[in-house]
Amino acid sequence: MTVADVAPENTPESRGVFTPELLGRCISCGFCLPACPTYELTGVETSSPRGRINLMRALETGVLPDNDPTVHEEASFCLGCRACEPVCPAGVHYGELLEEWRDHLWNGRRRPWKVRPLLWAVDSPRRVRAMGIVRRHAGRASDAPGPVNLMLGCFERVLYPRVSRDARKLAPELAVPVAQGCCGALHAHNGELERGNELAKELGEALPGTIVTTSGGCGAHLAGVLGTERVKEFSQWWLAHEGPVPEATAAERRVDGRLRIGLQDSCHLRNGLGIWHEPRELIARVGDYVELPSAAACCGAAGSYAVVRPEESARVLEPHLDEIAAADLDVIAVVNAGCYRQLQQGVKRRKLRTRVVHIAELLAGENDRAAAT
């Protein structure tokens, strides 16, 4: 350092945009740079976690104004994958800083226009329920909340209703009341922190007791509000629950040759909740697990990112598709609805033979279905 020539820092007035303890944590070591997908794309410090924290600090002290175009661009360019957190020696909670940043910049009129209809759709539990009504998800109007409840998700119940059906098939003891809304993650990540937290609390009231979620992104946000004791991701819960894996079936499968199965981690599940081992262990029970080099890196779905910034989102996905093709996987497993959609579209675009399958579907027998085809 340099205590030497340095006068104590002039601490200009803080504007109160960020929680001081969160913003003060970063020691600027730069260890986050190689972990950041947008730094890897650009090689420019400004598009790295450390660079963005410097932008936040400049915003906080008034060095940069609220309407600075670089500040806005970087708040939007960031995937919010939080891959910078596990590699941070100082323990910076970057995800929380990003939420505060977007809350300050986007709350009100300046939110990217593509996000608005998404937030509107999931803002009311009634609308979420209506969206799912035509799909055959696992929710039942007759179900009362139980000690352990399955969360349906908002977009998942519409796009991938079989995920909740298969989760229920595996664990019939899960209560799946249909009266449940959105977890609020989408709000929290898009500049409506307060509403995001409210929705999480409302969901916590609708589903008292343990909440099991099949989406890593929802899980991390819910756990951030309700606590990790109450919120469990499906593979984490299933493994702890000692779900009976039909060993005999697994043995039969070996005759036809086991499937080569990769995994796309959910960023917030891995970086936010530290869960990455569980899905791998479960996959290894039903097939040959193949660890792709970029398994832990963001696939570019990143919540609403794929909608807001489709070009960058597709560029982030490219190396994943290259690896899936090179490994000639039978199945790429996912643990989050956003990744499901992102990979499905990518695999289709590239005309790969690999099937994209949620881990609950895989465990419930997607493996057999795939082998049969």
Binding site: T2, A4, P69, P89, A90
Partner: protein
Amino acid sequence: MAATATLTGLRARLEEVVGREHVRTDEGALVTFSTDATPLERGHPDAVVFPATAEEVAGVLRFANERGVPVVPRGSGTNLSAGTVPHRGGIVLVLTRMNRVKEVSDAELVAVCEPGVRTSELAQAAAAKGLLFPPDPGSQTTATVGGNVAECAGGLRALKYGVTRDYVLGVQAVLPTGEIIRSGGRLVKDVAGYDLRRLLCGSEGTLAVMTELTLRLVPAPEASGYGMAYFPDLASAARAVSRVLASGVLPVTLEFLDQVCIGAVEDYAQIGLDTSAGALLIFGQDGNPVVIERDLERMAQACTSEGATSVRIAESPEAASEVLHARRAALPALSRLEPLTLLEDATVPRSRIAEMVDFIQEVAQRHQLKIGTFGHAGDGNLHPTAVLDSADHGAVQRARAAFDEIFARAIELDGTITGEHGIGIAKLRYLERQLGADHTALLRRIKAAFDPNGILNPGKLGS
């Protein structure tokens, strides 16, 4: 900041050299290139430029030299002495686009790469051919090879394998006046001319911009093994280190943590460290498994005979990883105690380590500071790390006074004010105290010979 008149047309000229998309002058980008990993130091550049070739680097430098604009070369910005802080404005010249490993030859034991390759990437490319690039500074996953050569980075393996300078066979560099030169090459023996590649190694971006590096590699060791020992005080740990080295063992790892660090690591990581101990010594060896076993045994004996209260040799790779975890966790653990972490690298001869660490603790108490010291016991490279509240101006002043004393003491003990972080801006004022007036005057004449207009990283080494 350079005068506005000088900067007229700066952006346009830079765009001509590197292309429009590789120049940044937006205020937000300038803010993010105004600092590196050094706390409290900040500059403000006028432009940031990302060249892709030596010719483009030469184009930027020729222009800057004509106009007298400062140029600060930068890799990933992990510098700890503010060497990449543009405190006089001008151009930040970022070399991360030049990131190709051009060659790794197992027949010749050399690697050729561009300066923007990350050190760990080079190490991986070497490992893929069964080779080792030994310098392993703590920042190796982020830091670039160019930056490591410019700073002559050290690392954990220095006692056995040496530092970056010992692995630089040749460089291609662009002089501040725009000429491209080469010094050294693939030869192990080459005495034609002054050894400029060695001069550039550790020149902290003040003499030339390196655009290609030819590096020496060694065969990768077959295996490695680790152990740890607790001592009642640092003096006995230091005696154990001397005894280890006198016993004919040259270990690859000899790291220590003082009592403050042990406590901080245990609070943070809860890995069952003995917080009552005065010092923790971590030792390791690499090479042939039989030799490793013999050397670990000898080191364990040396520790026991110097009064170690407990000694443990890791029986498995997992156990070894646990042992190393304590050392790796030292900085994260300390940095979480307070918002501001001041990491120094005063270095003393091995035989003076205990004396120096005791002095650091005495100074810390006198100035009411929390300073933990960890570091490389094998080479005397200490990392006294002060943690304080950046908003507490009194504490910052006291830390400043404390480090003044620590540097002075290091010099008295025939040590150095910096073992591996460099002079940068931070320690320039101590340099003459260590080297003397004649020596620093010579440094200035060398600087002037390379950079007559003083445009390259001005106000730092050689200024």
